[in-house]
């Protein structure tokens, strides 16, 4: 996208919604902004209907603020809490079905490579833990195994939150949730290890409480996906609604259980060093 493509037709300045005027005049397109600039520009995300204290909503906000090229980024989501927020994002985004986000993104990325051979079009899959690790595990793995140039970001709230708090493959062993009335019977799916073994050139885990590091990881994951191959970022986003804790405790819980991990292939290492991110 050209940096100034979003403009307001003359004469319509005063009737366009204020938030749109802000986006046109002070949006992040083509400005190379990041989390450290939050508060100084109009963000891509407008008010949203997710629950108070939602860790996932904050993760999407931080991710959106960290995109290296929001003017040329397309986000593919899937059914889940993310799909309730995503339509508020001032960036092309697709709600696929439930679980096919990676395969759809692969087709999209290939089409954009053909149509814009001289441009970077970043395709980012951003979906929940149920969408990626359960119902969408097959296309998630296959896009990695095929070395598609996609960034996959899991918003891991350790449950199916939008459908009412059911146990997911990413829930911890023993967690009592809907559909696991006597506690989950098997451990959390080791997605970071699977990602590494499946060919991801960059794999990282972080929590939503660690904004600066999260922002850097988003930039790295997208840059590596653009130049080298698939990347995976797993963000822990506690859910007060379904895990039934106070909405003020989200970040505290995120911090307590945060696991920071970063695997960088040697090729990716070189790229990240050159790009200085």
């Amino acid at each position: 996208m050209k940096k100034n493509i979003a403009t307001i037709s003359p004469g319509f300045e005063d009737i366009m919604p204020e938030e749109y005027q802000d986006l046109v005049n002070d949006g992040p397109y083509g400005r190379g902004l990041g989390i450290k600039n939050l508060g100084t520009f109009k963000e891509l995300i407008e008010e949203h209907p997710l629950c108070a204290g939602c860790g996932l909503a904050l993760a999407i906000r931080l991710t959106a603020a960290s995109l290296p090229a929001p003017e040329d980024t397309i986000i593919v989501g899937t059914t889940g809490c993310n799909s309730i927020l995503m339509p508020q994002l001032a960036i092309h985004n697709i709600h696929s079905l439930f679980g096919n986000q990676s395969s759809l993104a692969a087709g999209l990325k290939r089409a954009l490579k053909l149509r814009y051979p001289d441009k970077n079009k970043d395709v980012v899959v951003m979906a929940g833990d149920g969408g990626i690790a359960d119902i969408g595990l097959s296309p998630t793995l296959h896009t990695w195994l095929r070395r598609e140039n996609l960034t996959t970001i899991m918003l891991d709230n350790e449950s199916y939150s939008n459908t009412g708090g059911q146990e997911s493959g990413m829930s911890c062993e023993g967690a009592v949730l809907n559909m696991a009335p006597t506690g989950k019977k098997f451990p959390k799916i080791p997605m970071p290890e699977i990602a590494k073994d499946s060919g991801c050139a960059y794999v990282a885990t972080v929590s939503v409480a660690n904004a600066r590091r999260l922002g850097r990881m988003v930039k790295r994951a997208i840059l590596v996906a653009r130049e080298i191959g698939p990347t995976y970022l797993q963000i822990f986003v506690p859910c007060p609604t379904n895990y039934k804790f106070s909405t003020s405790e989200t970040l505290k819980r995120a911090k307590e259980r945060e696991k920071i991990m970063e695997y960088i292939s040697s090729e990716a290492e070189k790229l990240i060093k050159e790009a200085n991110i």
Partner: protein, 381 residues
């Protein structure tokens, strides 16, 4: 790869010189894909379709298609096809029976997202018990997905309709998917004379700027699609949005009629429309019905044939008119449910004259004698 030139679609379909080749249906559809200026083809193995997408792969290797791969399963192939279409590329894929069912959730999405996907369905039976044999029950299920459906009788129609489907589907006032269906094996594996257009002539490329919905490439300004997602609301506006959009998809199908008439030709081919007994059939059942009709007429029986080529949008007016004169209407089909007989009965006033027989399925062939028996029984009534 040979030098090729873009030609006008109407010229290609109606006036271009034709070369005779001896092709099976799977080769014929691949010949069409070669001339269709396809950007991306995605394949997944399933009998009896696989051979067609093997050849499409060879065409890719020769440079006539820009991207091609084997996907992980039919649901994800159809998803990737959707993604490629949302990104503004022209696509091709094909599947059969169980693959159609595996992919099914994607078909209403293709229609609802206004994606002009062209997909070939080489119909076969579905489990259980296990079968790979010809049976077109899947068309009956595809009929209500919002997709347009052509039913080709033979390799020649498979070649022509595949090319025509791209041009119809991509009209801005249509822009919904088209399934080009054939009966597996009977068409896919049967070798016939097929008249193909010159190898160095191809369709104009797809122009993404003609899409009635935004292409997802961040080249047009992004908008917030909605302030409150409809899925979270229980109110009139959210219901009405979904309801009116479904109607719009069906309306796009109706608007396709004029383009189908222009590029594909007749919805129904009729022989002896004033006959006492009218056979109505589609696909290879029409081929068998034609033989039965000829045998019956040789014996002095007054029999006609209406071959329906376009199942969606269904040619209701023409069928209603055709149904007025004959005393008996016989609908032979290659499936157990009789979706065509059901469709015809639901559209005409005097449905009691429709006999939904013979039906063969599970791989059985339909000898013209089966149809003749219905004709004789019908005359005796």
């Amino acid at each position: 790869m040979m030098e090729r030139k873009v030609v006008d679609p109407e010229y290609m379909f109606k006036r271009a010189p034709r070369e005779k080749k001896f092709l099976i249906g799977n080769e014929a559809v691949a010949e069409a894909v070669k001339r269709a200026n396809v950007d991306i083809a995605i394949a997944y193995p399933i009998t009896p379709q696989s051979e067609a997408t093997h050849i499409v792969g060879d065409i890719y290797a020769e440079g006539y298609i820009k991207d091609y791969y084997r996907g992980e399963d039919e649901f994800n192939v159809m998803s990737a096809i959707a993604g490629a279409r949302m990104g503004g590329a022209r696509t091709f894929t094909a599947t059969s029976g169980p693959g159609t069912l595996r992919a099914f959730e994607m078909f209403p999405l293709w229609a609802g997202a206004r994606l002009p996907v062209v997909c070939a369905f080489m119909c076969r039976g579905v489990n259980s018990p296990l079968t790979i044999q010809p049976d077109n029950i899947e068309i009956g299920w595809l009929m209500d997905t919002g997709m347009l459906i052509f039913h080709a009788e033979n390799p020649q129609e498979f070649f022509d309709m595949t090319l025509q489907a791209y041009i119809v589907a991509e009209q801005p006032d249509v822009h919904i998917p088209i399934g080009v269906c054939v009966d597996g094996f009977f068409v896919t594996h049967t070798r016939e004379i097929v008249e193909v257009t010159p190898e160095d002539e191809m369709l104009p490329p797809y122009d993404p700027s003609t899409s009635p919905v935004p292409i997802m490439d961040m080249e047009v300004p992004p908008i917030r699609q909605m302030r409150d997602p409809f899925v979270m609301k229980s109110n009139y506006i959210s219901y009405n949005t979904h309801a009116s959009w479904q109607q719009e998809v069906r309306a796009a199908g109706e608007r396709a009629k004029k383009h189908i008439a222009r590029y594909v030709g007749k919805f129904i081919e009729v022989t002896n429309p004033d006959a006492e007994i009218l056979l109505i059939a589609s696909g290879t059942a029409a081929a068998q019905a034609r033989v039965a009709m000829e045998q019956a007429r040789e014996k002095g029986m007054d029999v006609g044939l209406a071959k329906i080529r376009v199942i969606r949008p269904f040619p209701e007016d023409e069928v209603r008119e055709l149904a007025e004169n004959p005393r008996i209407i016989i609908v032979p089909e290659h499936n157990i449910v009789g979706w065509l007989a059901r469709e015809i009965k639901s559209r005409i006033d005097n449905s009691g004259k429709v006999r939904g027989h013979p039906r063969v399925f599970g791989g059985m062939t339909m000898p013209p004698e089966f149809i003749m028996e219905e004709i004789v029984n019908g005359r005796a009534r």
